[in-house]
């Protein structure tokens, strides 16, 4: 394992499998009546959130607490950051308070890289700008493995994953394309050409602008959140047109193979990129993804902070 988890593209296949397998083990423990493990007792995890993201913050908080770490939540709103303190000074303050790991969510791509250069603790990227969101990709991989593989182990070799939506601005897409590729999946991205990076042909994925053509060859379809303000920058003409061409409605779900699953990183725009009936269907893994997020983030914190051997935590 690396010192930090900043990008899914930094993970080797072995690293990724170690995290997923550890998450499986931790998930089993979480099924016990007493969920809490003593492994990170006395360690401090800081959640440093410069963007509102209640779901990701709570997920990391739950993960750290189940491992008995002390958790400090630092939200940039109403803090010294709002008064103009730099990221560097904030980082040094947290360092002085003894943070063993800092989980950072930031609107600027690369902020976790900068943070890792300023502090001695471990840095976990909880989403940076348009760059990466590696724990989201890990929980997605974890979810796919559980749903599509008889036994939740090994890679995702040969699994056909289709990502649909705003790839250009999406850190979830970047992390998933990197990680799922590393695990052997065949990734296809589908989006209007305006929402694809210019150099996407060099990415380790296939590219299509025709969702209907891709659906029958899909084992996993992952719908990305589309932000309505993109319409104002002329990325697409209207929300309705976007929805017609790239939304997953009931008819399109019917074109998927029988076994295919539907994923969404949340929060959803029901009726835009995903129809309510689809989001609530048995094929949807959206609620499961949330639960799996805690297990995966436990595994990441556990491995980075070098918790005790899991075998010794049964008492």
């Amino acid at each position: 394992m690396n010192r930090h988890l900043i990008a899914a593209s930094d993970l080797s296949r072995d690293d990724a499998l170690l995290i997923l397998d550890t998450a499986e083990e931790l998930a089993r423990i979480s099924d016990r009546p007493i969920k809490k493990l003593p492994t990170l007792r006395g360690r401090t995890v800081v959640n440093l959130f410069f963007e509102d993201s209640t779901r990701t913050r709570i997920s990391f908080e739950a993960a750290a607490k189940r491992l008995s770490a002390d958790v400090i939540n630092f939200s940039a709103k109403g803090s010294s950051v709002a008064k103009g303190e730099s990221l560097k000074d904030t980082a040094l303050t947290l360092e002085a308070m003894g943070a063993d790991a800092v989980v950072i969510r930031h609107m600027a791509s690369g902020a976790p890289h900068r943070l890792a250069g300023w502090i001695k603790g471990h840095v976990v990227n909880a989403g940076d700008g348009m760059h990466e969101h590696p724990t989201q990709a890990l929980l997605d991989a974890f979810t796919i493995r559980r749903r599509l593989r008889g036994t939740p182990s090994g890679g995702l070799d040969g699994v056909r994953v289709t990502l649909v939506g705003d790839v250009l601005h999406s850190r979830v897409a970047r992390s998933n394309i990197a990680l799922l590729g590393t695990l052997g999946a065949e990734v296809t991205v589908v989006a209007p050409p305006t929402l694809l990076p210019l150099a996407v042909e060099g990415w380790p994925c296939a590219v299509s602008c025709d969702l209907d053509a891709v659906l029958p060859k899909t084992d996993v379809i992952m719908m990305l959140r589309v932000q309505q303000e993109r319409m104002n920058a002329a990325y697409f003409p209207s929300v309705r047109e976007y929805s017609r061409r790239y939304g997953l409605d009931v008819a399109r779900m019917g074109a998927l193979p029988e076994h295919a699953i539907v994923m969404h990183p949340g929060p959803m725009n029901r009726g835009v990129e995903i129809a309510a009936e689809v989001a609530d269907s048995p094929r949807s893994t959206i609620v499961e993804q949330v639960a799996n997020g805690v297990s995966v983030r436990m595994a990441v914190l556990y491995l980075l902070l070098g918790g005790a051997d899991l075998g010794g935590t049964n008492e």
């Binding site: 609107m107 791509s109 690369g110 940076d128 348009m130 970047r174 990076p197």
Partner: protein, 431 residues
């Protein structure tokens, strides 16, 4: 009364070796085995005697941002890098958009005395791109402004650009355009391409530069005026300038040392020391601008020296200021990119770093190859000096934001003479 200097055995850009006698601000004599009783002697065996370098594009930051640079520190940096004249860009605070401000900058430069400071005037009031500044008043002031630029911002309005080009014909002026289509570069952080896509940084597309250059070449041709293109950064821009020159249009262009050597891949660690506008481009673009400089399509090297205080770079990429220092490494960087690669000889370097920028800037007394009767503005340079890693702590600039920190560059500026007086000797500033 300035001292008389006898420079022994220097090599001229063309290769011939000569002594040079500097007296009363002029080169009094050249030739072998000169004698001058009482003169101070400088042994220049192995050194090149280049005409004092001229920078068409320097941000001295004064007035307004004296925490980043002052005219004093910026011109010391210039001398340290072998420059005898710099053009001070107009994006100060207040903006250099009136005769009063350009005269102040000009006077502060004279008082500092490390190199000549030729102010650039803003094209539009406050650089806001809506109303022409009083270009004539700046031209008629003691600063004798001939180069006008809103650098940092593009004169995006085509009508205003046309009028500016037309208007400056009355006093042989030139409009130096920062070519950046603003709508195509909203929020732009890095060259749009493979790296920006991977890093999740908003792209700055080559077309945003090239479209403005093409438009402005056509406008300059239409009104018969002179256009200068600042910091050309893409291979496509070079093609457009080449086309305009082939038409016989009065278009000139510059390239920065960093665009001759560095690519966008340096952004991978998100260190904003590599953040600059226009952004670092691809290896193909580096190749394109090098070829353009070699064949003369690009007339000159200009530093776009853009000092910033540490806190403007010690931050996340998107929040960081754009720009790099350049005066103190430019000649060494050009040696690495152009001479050591065989693309340009030293006569070419003298042309691109002194003769042509002085001509574009309408700058009298600079840009003349060392010859008897000419001004004693000289740079003595040792191209064989062992490549040393660049150490910003040794720089005279107030700021440290050089992308070449730790990079071994060849050569050393040994001495700089401004009108016969050394501003740098033994590689060190004299005052």
């Amino acid at each position: 009364m300035t001292a008389t200097w006898l420079i022994r055995n220097a090599s001229l850009p063309g290769g011939e070796r000569t002594d040079l006698l500097l007296r009363d601000g002029m080169i009094a004599e050249t030739g072998p085995d000169l004698t001058a009783p009482g003169a101070q002697v400088l042994d220049a065996d192995g050194l090149l005697a280049l005409p004092g370098l001229v920078d068409l594009h320097t941000h001295l930051r004064e007035p307004g941002r004296e925490d980043a640079e002052t005219i004093e520190t910026g011109t010391r940096a210039a001398a340290h890098g072998g420059y005898t004249a710099v053009h001070a860009m107009a994006n100060t605070d207040p903006v250099a958009d009136t005769a009063g401000v350009v005269e102040q900058v000009w006077r502060l430069g004279r008082e500092a005395g490390h190199c000549d400071v030729q102010p650039v005037g803003a094209v539009t009031v406050g650089l806001d791109g809506t109303r022409l500044a009083e270009l004539g008043a700046m031209a008629d002031s003691v600063a004798r402004v001939r180069v006008f630029s809103d650098d940092g911002k593009c004169v995006a309005d085509p009508l205003l650009m046309r009028r500016a080009l037309e208007y400056v014909k009355a006093f042989d002026g030139v409009v130096a355009q920062h070519a950046e289509e603003p709508r195509l570069t909203q929020g732009a952080q890095l060259n749009e391409g493979e790296v920006s896509g991977r890093l999740g940084l908003a792209g700055w597309p080559a077309v945003a530069e090239e479209a403005i250059i093409a438009r402005d070449c056509l406008l300059a041709a239409h009104v018969g005026s002179a256009l200068h293109v600042c910091h050309v950064s893409t291979a496509g821009s070079v093609e457009i300038v080449r086309w305009a020159k082939a038409k016989g249009w009065r278009v000139t262009a510059e390239v920065t040392p960093h665009h001759l050597l560095l690519t966008d891949e340096l952004a991978e660690g998100y260190d904003p020391v590599y953040k600059v506008n226009p952004p670092l481009r691809t290896a193909a673009d580096v190749d394109g601008v090098r070829q353009g400089l070699a064949d003369g399509t690009i007339d000159c090297v200009a530093t776009d020296h853009a000092p910033h205080p540490a806190e403007y770079k010690d931050t996340e990429w998107a929040d960081a200021a754009m720009g790099m220092t350049g005066l103190e490494v430019a000649l060494r960087a050009v040696q690495q990119a152009m001479v050591d690669t065989g693309l340009l000889d030293w006569a070419g370097v003298a042309d691109r770093m002194s003769v042509r920028p002085a001509a574009i800037g309408r700058l009298a007394g600079h840009g003349q190859l060392p010859a008897a009767g000419g001004p004693a503005n000289l740079t003595l340079y040792d191209p064989a000096a062992r490549p040393e890693p660049v150490d910003p702590a040794t720089h005279a600039s107030k700021s440290r934001n050089t992308p070449f920190r730790g990079v071994a560059l060849p050569g050393q500026v040994v001495a700089t003479f401004l009108r016969g007086t050394p501003t740098v000797l033994d590689g060190k500033l004299t005052s």
